[in-house]
Amino acid sequence: MADVLTCCVSFFSVGNTHEDIDALFGVIRKYLMDKEWSTVEEFAQLVREALQGQGGRVVVEIITDALDFSDWLKPCANKRLALYSRHGPDILNPGMHVMRYVGFKKNTFDHI
């Protein structure tokens, strides 16, 4: 595995979020308007029904806990690990900001 990674964090312009996922939530909301449910499982089933016919497969899961990723990745999650960084407006897209980290120091993930 090469020691050098290239990862890019870029900022989208205002209003870009009105895309596929927002449309999906609109479909779910419309389907639920005249429905009733008593449990989370019933609600999950209704969401599955709402998304039938949207193309592709649908998975609905209930999240009641999360692992402590912050503690696990704490040694990696700081900007000093990046050998090179750039933050500023994108030349080609003036409305977009780009933050780029190129090349992580060796042994970045050795603690894992």
Binding site: M1, L5, T6, C7, C8, V9, S10, F11, F12, V14, N16, T17, D20, I21, L24, F25, I28, M33, E36, V40, F43, A44, V47, L51, Q54, G55, G56, R57, V58, V59, V60, E61, I62, I63, T64, D65, A66, L67, D68, F69, S70, L73, K74, C76, A77, N78, K79, H97, M99, Y101, F104, T108, F109, I112
Partner: protein, 130 residues
């Protein structure tokens, strides 16, 4: 007899309820190869932070890998279905630590070879105020 009484649209009774937040992950694909994962997050049990973000990314990848068909005996390992080599992630307004934990997690996915490249894009905090 009293079924439906008090069931008014846009009316909040103020009673304690099981608060749920919907988060969705979409894997684009042609035909029926796409995948939509709806995460119903129990707000009262799971704080909205980087841990949740990484958990949802991890779960979504797990569900996606479950949809990939296992290679048949006739297929060579190289021809077997696999993760797309490039992944693009769009994240809205991570206020904590500029999303560095999430960024470290996606870097880890690249490092261990799950995907070859991973681009993460995020909107700055306050986007919705414009």
């Amino acid at each position: 007899m009293f079924e439906g009484v008090g069931n008014f649209r846009n009316y909040d009774s103020g009673h304690a309820t099981f608060d749920i937040k919907l988060v969705a992950t979409k894997f684009h694909g042609s035909g029926d190869n796409g995948l939509i994962v709806i995460h119903l997050v129990a707000n009262s049990l799971v704080p909205d932070n980087a841990n949740l973000m990484c958990q949802l990314v991890s779960n979504a990848f797990k569900h996606y890998s479950d949809t990939l068909d296992a290679p048949t005996p006739e297929q060579s390992p190289a021809a077997a279905p696999r993760f797309p080599p490039e992944v693009f992630l769009q994240v809205d307004g991570v206020s904590t630590n500029w999303g560095l934990v999430t960024f470290a997690f996606v870097c880890y996915l690249v490092k261990i070879g799950v995907v070859a490249s991973f681009q993460m894009a995020r909107n700055p905090v306050g986007t919705y105020l414009h």
